[in-house]
Each structure stands twice: as C-alpha cells, then as structure tokens.
C-alpha cells in the first residue's frame, strides 16, 4: 500500500471523525455510514481528505471501525492523522519530506549512522 493510500484511508477520514472521538462515537459513525451506503445515499459515497475526494465503501468503513476498536492500533492512526501534511507521491516525495529539521532515528544512531 502506498503512503498516499495509507494516509487517505486513515479511519478518522473515512468515518469523518476527529481523533478525539470516543469509542461510542466511532460505533455510531460507522453504523450511520454503513446504513447510508446500504440504502444508496449518494452523499455517503465519498469523503474528503486534504489530498482530495475518495470513494467510501462498506469495506473501508468496517475496516476503519475495526482499526479504531483496537486501542493499540488506534494510536498509530491518531499519529498518522495528526501529521497534517499529506504525504507526497512516490515520485516527488523527497522534496516534501526534506522540509524542516528531522529527528534522527534512534535505531540509526545506535548503528553509528549519521546524516550527511
């Protein structure tokens, strides 16, 4: 899965929820979207991300709910979501990512590697 997909499929986008949503709000939103999709309401069929409009499907909604039910996995999505800057595509990522100072990954330091 590309970084773009991973970011765009973020459960909080899919369910249209803030990262502060409670467990009950997650279930409520999921149930609502699934119902709307089932009866074929056109306004449920898409969702917006800073990268543009994407198609919302029942599979995506169910997967998003499952991800947010599991506390350990939810944390990961919260972090992804909080990185407000969307990832660039594979061909142009280096420019976008090179902006600003980067923390030096501990694993690399341990290995004695340092940035040029």
């Amino acid at each position: 899965m590309s970084a773009v997909d991973r970011w765009g499929d973020n459960p909080f986008f899919v369910l249209d929820l803030p990262v502060t949503a409670t467990r009950a709000e997650v279930e409520r939103a999921g149930q609502k979207w699934l119902g709307m999709l089932e009866v074929g309401m056109s306004r449920a069929a898409i969702y917006t991300t800073p990268l543009g409009v994407r198609a919302r499907t029942p599979e995506l909604v169910r997967a998003a709910m499952a991800e947010l039910r599991d506390p350990e996995r939810r944390i990961g999505h919260e972090l992804w979501h909080l990185e407000h800057e969307p990832p660039s595509t594979l061909d142009a990522e280096d420019d976008a990512d090179a902006e600003g100072p980067e923390p030096e990954p501990a694993a690399l330091r341990i290995l004695g590697w340092s940035r040029p």
Binding site: R23, A24, G35, V39, R62, P105, L111, W113
Partner: protein, 820 residues
C-alpha cells in the same frame, strides 16, 4: 410479518446440539419432544429408510452402529460419506448435520408456532473454510433460507455478557466440548465487547477423558482378568465401544458422586475368551489422575493466549465455562485456581452458545419469521438500523423505495413508544432518503413509530410503520480465525487476510504466471492454491482451495509472466470465493476446486510419521554433538506428539477416520515445530543476520528513505530488539523482513540500483522460460540503460525476473503453485 421478531440461534455441536430463540429482550432455550434442551447430534436410518435424530437415535449407538452415526461434525468439510447398511443409503457430513438442524427447526415450530427461515449457527473458532462451507450447506439442506455462522466463543461471550452486570475488564471463555477445545480472551469496555484473541486445540475434549478412562479400564482388565483388549484390533471393536460408553457414563456420574462403578449393558465378548463383566470401580481421585494431563494441556493453551496478549492473571476478571466437561468439579477448581480468576456462576454451560447465537441473530437483523403474504400498508421504506445496539444514540436510516399510488413523504420523525423521546424532523433528500438520530432507554427493547408527512404536512402511512431497537451488549464484525493467502511457486505465502481481519473482507493482488499455458491442451492447467494458516512456508499451511486456469478454457495461449489479478472474498460466515482476472486473455476464472479437507490416507500418514521420526533422531544427535541443550526440550515434545500420532494411526488403520484426521494435523504441527527447532538451531546465524540487515537497511533508509520510512524503521528496530530479547524466532524473522522491505524501498530509489539488478538478471537469461522474449527484453534493457531511462529499466528488469526459473522442489511443496 407481525408481532415480535424471532431470532434463532443454533449450537450445532459434535456431541449435542441446542437451539434458542431471542425476541429482543429475553432468550428462551427450546425443548425438544423429549422435553430436553439438548439434542444429541446422532442420526439413525433403519432398514425401512426411516430417519431418527437425537436421544432416540443415540440409544442405538452401540447396539446398531452400522445404522447409527455420531460425531460427524468432525468430518465436516471432508469427502467422506457415512454408510447406513440396512437402508443401503450413504450420507455426506452436511446431510447428516442437516438432519439434526431440521429436527431443531421443527422443535422451534412446536414450541413457538413458527417454522424459522433464518438462523445463526455457531461453529468452532478454529474451523477452517471447508468446514464452514459444509455447515452453510447443511443449513440450506435443512430448509433455512438465510444463515450466518458465528464463532462459538463469541456466541458464549455474548450470552454471558448479556446477562452480566456491567463490569469492564478482560475475561476468558473456556469452552471444552466433546472433541474440541476453544479459549478466547475478551474485553468489555463501556458495553462494547471485543475479542482480544483466541486459541485452542481442535482435538481435545471430553471424548479424550473417556478414552483415558478406557485405557485405564483396559489395563485393569488385563491385570485382573488376564485378557488383553486392544483399541486397534477390529475384532475388539464391539467391546471397546461398550467400554467407551460405560466410561462416559462413569465420568458424568463422577461430576455428582464421589465414586461409581463402570456398568456395561452386556458382558464383554472377546474372541478366544469367555464373556465376562469386569465391574470396575472408579473414584474421583483416579479420574483426576487420568484427566489431569488433558486439563494441563488446556491450561497450556490458556497461558499461551494470555501471554500473547500481555494479560497477567490479576488482570483477568473472570472465567466463563462452556461445554459438558466443564461441569467436572475438579476441572473448574483447577482451571480457576491456576489462572487465578473468579468463575462466573449461574450460566448454563450446555446452552450458552445457542443463546448467544440467538442474540447475535438480532444484532445482524436476521429475523427468522417466515415471510408472510404481502400487505401494503403505505409508502414502502427500506430501513437500516441496528436491531441490537450498545450506543444509546444510534441512527435510523431510510429510503422510500415505492410510494405506490399514495402521496410521497417529504419528512420523517421517530417517536419512541414510551412517549419520552421524539427525534428531530428529518427531511428526505434527493435520493428520497433520510437519517434520524434516536435516543434509547438502556437494556430495553425500544419501539419507535415512524411518523411521515407529505409536503403539505399531511400524515402519510409508511411500511413498516415502526422499528424496534434493543439496547445491550454487542460485538463488532467476527474476526477471521486463521490467515488466508496464496501459495506461491517459491513456497512462500502471499497473505491476503491476516488472522483477526474483520469479516466480511475482500482483497486483490496481482500475481504473475510462471509458465505458459497452451490453449486447448487438455492436461495443461495453471494452479493458484489458496492456503490457510500462520506459517510463512506454504506447505505448512492447509490447502483450502485451488483456483484453476485450464488450457481447454482459455481463448488463446497464455504466455509465462502474464498478470493475474486475483481477488479473494470472505463473507461473515468465513465462506470464501475467488476470482482471477487475466487481462491478457480478457477472461475471468472463478471456479475454486477441491474445497475439501484432504482424506487421511493411513499409508501416506505412516510414511510422513517415519520421515518425521528420522528428522527428530537426526536433530537430537546433532544437538548432543554440538551441545545445544535448549532444543532437547522441544524435541522431547515432538517425540511425545509422534507417539500420539502413532496411536491415532493405529486407530485410523482400524477404520477410525477421525483419528486419521487428527494424526494428519498433528503431523503438520510437528513438522512446523521441527522447522522452528531448526531455526533456533541457527540462532547465532540469525543474530548475525540482524546485524547485517540493520546495517544495510538502516543505511539505505537513512540515505534514501523518506521521513516516514525512517520513523517506521525506528519502530521495526525496536521490535527487532524485543524479539531478540524474547528469543522469538518467528517474530524476529517477520521484523527482519519488514526491515528489509523498508531498506529495499529506499534502495530502489538509488540510480545505480536498477542497472546492477538488470545485469544480474541478464546473466541468467539462458535459463528463462521464454527465451526469445527474455532476449528481446535484454536488448530493450540495454537500450534503456544507454538512454539513462531508469524507470524503463526498472520495468524491464521486473519483467525479466518473471521469466527466470523457480525451484521445482519448492513448487511441488507449494501445492504445485503456478504463480509468483
């Protein structure tokens, strides 16, 4: 449809089955004609072709074994048909299961007055796809129009949670049945139930208690009467069956009394000995001695599960016991005491699963009432709402699908039956649809009247006129019990769905064919094996289906290296379907062959047993020679399991098919365990690989990776440290693979990478499956390099890889896979 909904749940057990109904508020366990809530899963067909099911059939189990069949649930998913001698009929496992389901369905009609059309049927958590498919087939044969399958532990948990007082925390469902053991770790959090994980043993149950008693009895008989009776001697079959029955009665008796005598219906008759009645006395102490190794085996599984999910004993709030053997007092005490948690009291271990299945039928809105005659009562609405819901403020969504002759509704509001709540007025949108939020009264069935008005504010009749939503505990989508993927030619597995994936699910990947398939060639067939299991070597996983692309069905010859876009889909019951789109042919293939558990052929099993014995001996010799005491323990374990296999094999040769299946599975498990031993033998080598991988991948990610890749790499490096500290070979390998992937992703960005890879591939071109095409690619590649066209060079190199040869041994092991 009128009145209260009828949600039906069925526990289709190996030994006993039960059915319960739920009306939205309370569950009722249905009694059969004999007044019992349990119906033995036994089917008998007499000489006149009359079929009897349940207790009436069970009475004939020893007296007339040729015409009476039990424990067929264990054969679900196999091809094995069971003969009924007197009638000359022979029934497949789903047909036998259908007879039991049909009887339960009729019992519902007797007790409730309605013949249900839909039901939730529970299946063991570790059931594999073919077994689930057979269960669905059985339900259809029994006349159910709609059926959903639900893992048994989830059913038990739902039923236990439904009646329990609110209390958050983790708990275990310990389900020991006649032949299977399941343990699940669950968590309740604000009324939401979540399966944290489960584990189990498909071949551990009350039946093993019975056999332990039989073995004890055989030893006693040999000692006291000097008669040797053997389990694997077919001429002793009748005596063994009698003893087994007596052993079970004695075991059940000991759940109440302190001592019992094994009573036989008739004296034992053994060829070459006078008939005799051994009259053996058995007390609790002896029974406990006999079954404690089996209970310990179950406890090992529990501990493994708790450890896997980082749950210590003091974090465990309670244990729910399910299944007949858990009535045994010693078992309850021992399990409760060892795991250090309170035992939930007041739940019926025999019918909890059926009750939970009925509750689940409500959550998935699977109303079993047969469709009545169509009476139009107004504008027809298509409604979506949770029939059971934990959330106190869910949504009701609806759409007008047919206004008929009457006026079109323009807005809708929902009014709760107790008058305490009215929703906001929802206006119908361009799709003629609405969304309304409602408020529920906790732990009640909430009925909402749907009040619709037309544009002029005049009330419009709608159909249905109301909805019912029950507030209570619910559970999310059922999780997949074992990972599913495609076996590749290299004997690796492309995982499509990880264990725990919520169902339903669908996923697609693109594969490439490894050889060409000639159009019209009768014997040419490309195989895409679909496997299930947690191993990363395909041959260690269970083959659950093969999608075939045969030469006779293709429009033109399919060249090697062609794309195949494969989509695998699983429904909520774990039923699988697969589709392969071949763009080069513009054709779609959907036929999945052999969705069956392979037969357990005793000769084949004996050969694998001998091979594994040899392997254990070799490994042990090496371990002593090289001084590796840490692997001796694992080898002893394997040795012990090989002993079990050998015993099962004896029984299989004597005609016990089920023992054959068990032997087959144990062999697979031993094989996997020995693989791990071999790997741990290579621990020093693995340590070196860690250093190499981290240095290489870390360097690549550091120089060429994105910020996110660097962050991910840091996580992986931490996980590698953890796996190393825990000496967890499999996890370490998994993390190393991830690290390598990250490194490769970065490395592919290096402008020097592709020319090097291209050179390496070109050097092996003579071995390509399609030489002219490969040579053409090499020419194209050289041109691209001359032009400095990196992207094109990469494309060409990847194509070239597809034409390069694979290892034939790996391919054979990998179920003859024709894809990479």
């Amino acid at each position: 449809m009128t009145g209260r909904p009828l949600y039906v749940g069925i526990d289709l057990g190996t030994t006993n089955s039960a059915v319960a109904v739920f009306d939205g508020e309370t569950t009722q366990v249905i009694r059969n004609a004999q007044g019992s809530t349990l119906t033995p899963s036994v089917v008998r067909i007499d000489g006149k072709g009359r079929v009897t099911v349940g207790a009436a059939a069970r009475r004939f189990l020893e007296r007339d074994p040729e015409n009476t069949r039990s424990e067929f649930k264990r054969l679900m998913g196999t091809e094995r048909a069971l003969p009924f001698a007197a009638s000359g009929r022979s029934l497949r496992p789903p047909e036998l299961a259908a007879a039991v389901l049909g009887a339960l369905r009729a019992d519902v009609l007797d007790q409730v007055g309605l013949l249900p059309d839909a039901a939730v049927i529970s299946v063991p958590a570790l059931f594999e796809l073919p077994q689930s498919a057979a269960t669905s087939e059985a339900a259809k044969l029994a006349g159910f129009g709609k059926v959903e399958l639900l893992p048994e532990p989830i059913a038990s948990a739902l039923a236990a949670g439904w009646t329990a007082e609110q209390g958050d925390g983790r708990w275990l469902v310990y389900d020991l049945g006649g032949g299977t053991f399941d343990v699940s770790l669950l968590e309740t959090d604000g009324g939401f139930l979540r399966v944290v994980g489960h584990d189990g043993d498909n071949f551990l149950g009350g039946r093993d208690f019975d056999w332990a008693i039989v073995d004890w009895a055989l030893a006693e008989i040999a000692r006291e009467h000097g008669v040797t009776i053997r389990r694997d001697d077919p001429t002793h079959g009748a005596a063994i069956a009698q003893l087994k029955h007596a052993a079970e009665d004695a075991k059940v008796g000991l759940s109440r009394a302190g001592q019992v005598v094994l009573t036989l219906a008739a004296p034992l008759e053994i060829p070459g000995a006078a008939p005799f009645d051994p009259e053996l006395a058995l007390d609790r102490a002896v029974l406990e001695g006999l079954i404690s190794p089996l209970v310990d085996r179950s406890l090992d599984v529990c501990r493994r599960l708790l450890q896997e999910h980082g749950t210590s004993a003091d974090q465990l709030a309670r244990i729910v016991f399910v299944g007949g053997p858990t009535v045994t007092p010693m078992l309850r005490e021992r399990v409760g005491h060892t795991l250090g948690a309170a035992v939930a009291e007041g739940l019926d271990p025999m019918t909890l699963v059926a009750q939970g299945a009925a509750i689940h039928a409500a959550s998935t809105a699977l109303d079993g009432r047969p469709a009545g005659p169509l009476v139009r009562r107004g504008a027809r609405l298509w409604l979506q709402f949770p029939a059971v819901c934990t959330d106190l403020s869910p949504h009701v969504i609806g759409r007008v699908v047919d206004a008929g002759q009457g006026p079109m509704p323009s807005n809708v509001r929902l009014v709760r039956g107790d008058g305490g709540f009215t929703s906001e007025v929802a206006t119908l949108d361009d799709d003629r649809a609405f969304v309304a939020a409602v408020e529920l009264v906790a732990r009640h069935a909430n009925v909402f009247e749907i009040v619709a008005e037309d544009a002029a504010g005049v009330r419009v009749a709608v159909d249905p006129p109301s909805v019912t939503i029950v507030q209570g505990m619910t559970i999310g989508d059922p999780p997949l019990s074992r990972s599913i993927g495609v076996a590749l030619v290299s004997d690796h597995v492309q995982v499509y769905f990880e264990r725990g994936t919520p169902l339903p699910a669908r996923r697609s990947f693109t594969h490439a064919t490894v050889e060409s398939v000639a159009r019209g060639a009768a014997e040419a067939v490309l195989k895409i094996p679909i496997v299930q299991g947690e191993h990363d070597r395909a041959h260690l996983c269970r083959l659950v289906g093969t999608l075939e692309i045969p030469g006779h069905a293709i429009g033109k010859t399919l060249p090697a290296g062609s794309d195949i876009e494969l989509t695998i889909e699983l429904d909520r019951g774990g039923r699988m379907s697969a589709k392969a789109l071949v763009p080069a042919l513009d054709q779609m293939f959907e036929h999945v062959a052999h969705l069956l558990v392979p037969a357990a052929d005793p000769e084949v099993l004996a050969a694998s047993l001998a091979a594994l014995r040899q392997r254990v001996d070799d490994l042990r010799a090496e371990a002593f020679r090289r001084g590796m005491p840490h692997i001796i323990g694992a080898l002893e374990h394997a040795e012990h399991d090989l002993g079990d296999v050998s015993r099962d094999l004896g029984a299989a040769t004597g005609g016990n098919d089920d023992a054959g299946q068990r032997a087959r599975r144990t062999l697979l498990e031993i094989d996997a365990a020995l693989d791990e031993v071999e790997q741990s033998k290579q621990w020093p080598e693995l340590e070196q690989r860690v250093v190499r991988t981290l240095t290489w991948a870390g360097g690549q990610v550091g120089h060429l990776g994105t910020e996110r890749e660097r962050a991910l790499f840091e996580d992986v490096a931490k996980a590698i440290d953890r796996a190393r500290a825990e000496r967890n070979v499999r996890e370490l390998q998994r993390q190393l693979r991830l690290a390598n992937q990250l490194g490769e992703t970065a490395w592919y960005r290096d402008p020097d990478t592709w020319p090097a890879l291209f050179d390496e591939a070109s050097s092996r071109v003579d071995a390509a499956s399609d030489l002219p095409r490969a040579q053409a690619l090499v020419r194209e590649g050289k041109a691209a390099r001359a032009r400095d066209d990196g992207a094109e060079l990469r494309r060409i190199t990847e194509k070239l890889w597809r034409l390069l040869p694979h290892d034939p041994t790996a391919r054979r092991a990998s179920y003859d896979s024709g894809v990479r």
